[in-house]
Amino acid sequence: MPHDHDPDHYHAVLPSDPALRVKALETILTDKGLVETAALDEIIDTYQNRIGPQNGAKVVAKFWDDAEFRAAMRTDPMPALSDLGFYGRQGEHMVMVENTPEVHNVVVCTLCSCYPWPLLGIPPGWYKSDAYRARVVREPRKVLAEFGLDIPASQKIRVWDSTAEIRYLVIPQRPKDTQGLSEQALARWVTRNSMIGTGLARDPDQ
């Protein structure tokens, strides 16, 4: 591990400008044959274009619509998620937490920024921010209000701090007026923030 008795750490010898620092590391690693440039492009393409909250939205819509899938998500979600292709790095051990009129769930990682990548992609800026990590465990109602979400006093808030390799996905309450919609149409109502707990499912046309 990096050594505490070396207060500057090795990284201090790199250029301080972050873009140049990344460039220097990429040059060193490609010079040494340890990293292939085409592999880097492939990783970026994956997380920029193929994996994102649209995956989680499909899961939530199916959860709302399909009783058999819902039962599987409550007891042993990984086989059914794998069947949908939503398995992989940072999503090996999913647990679904369901919002109800009595309970509102919200997810954080106070120690770093753990997030269910296969279902939601790479976390947004606010999720990784010190303010969110520090505050949502202590004053969730104030933090949610900063997202425009006022939780009634009658509803309990459960904050899930992702301290292990379990990844939690919030299942927002199904909005009224969505009876009879297809899973595909339902998925449009499921926002990224509603699956973290800093938002609700909402009408996509509003």
Partner: protein
């Protein structure tokens, strides 16, 4: 006992910028993510040791670095510490010759397979499960690694010495306190434990709210 990353409950950070929804604010952020994952695929460290490398940044660096700057600093430290790159190479900005583990480099055609295969952290476990759902448990205090002084651990300081209720028994999981220092998986039972918000934060917290953390068995004892 704690480090700068352990910020849960801290005062002073101001409002959350809820509009900051971008995943990659700058072009180099994508490069930083990809480099970290590609270098990680060489297998010279693991999720826990890479987290610990970020946690070992000095408080000054940790606070002033943006998210991906932390990743880059930790990657540089890991590369040298794990003998993939020399300090001279880091200083010069160039690699001096091809690495003898270059054959392990992640190839473009394998990226999808590697990312989709993940790394499961469940393990068969010899340690008997000590608690069941509904059990009242108390976390260790002080929080911290008992194998390595100042080492990696996943019990936030705000939950040290707190009493809560087991809500989920997850089964056997790799122990980060050991894995983070290349001391083996040492799997043990992991639990989701619910704490009353007022037990953590005092009377100003909402009486019915809860905070739930995943906690390894060795961090826990029967409620005091």
């Amino acid at each position: 006992m704690t480090r700068v990353h352990d910020m849960g409950g801290r005062f002073g950070d101001g409002p959350v910028e809820a509009d900051d929804s971008v995943t990659f604010e700058k072009e180099w952020h994508k490069r930083a993510l990809a480099l970290t994952l590609a270098a990680g695929a060489l297998g010279r460290w693991n999720i826990d040791s890479s987290r610990h490398a970020r946690e070992c940044l000095s408080p000054k660096d940790y606070s002033r670095f943006s998210y991906y700057e932390k990743w880059m600093a930790a990657l540089a430290d890991l590369l040298v510490d794990r003998d993939l790159v020399t300090l001279d190479e880091l200083k010069s900005g160039h690699g001096h010759g091809v690495s003898d583990v270059a054959n392990k480099a992640l190839r473009a055609q394998d990226v999808a397979k590697v990312l989709a295969s993940g790394s499961p952290y469940t393990r068969a476990c010899d340690v008997a499960q000590q608690f069941s759902a509904g059990a009242r448990v108390t976390t260790r205090r002080p929080a911290g690694n008992v194998l390595v002084d100042g080492g990696h651990s996943r019990l936030p300081a705000y939950a040290a010495g707190a009493t809560g209720t087991v809500v989920i028994c997850h089964g056997g999981y790799v122990l980060p306190d050991s894995n983070g220092h290349y001391l083996g998986d040492q799997p043990e039972p992991l639990y989701a434990v619910a704490f009353e918000a007022q037990d953590l934060w005092g009377a100003q917290a909402n009486a019915q709210d809860e905070v739930i953390l995943d906690i390894w068995q060795s961090y826990l004892g029967p409620a005091e």
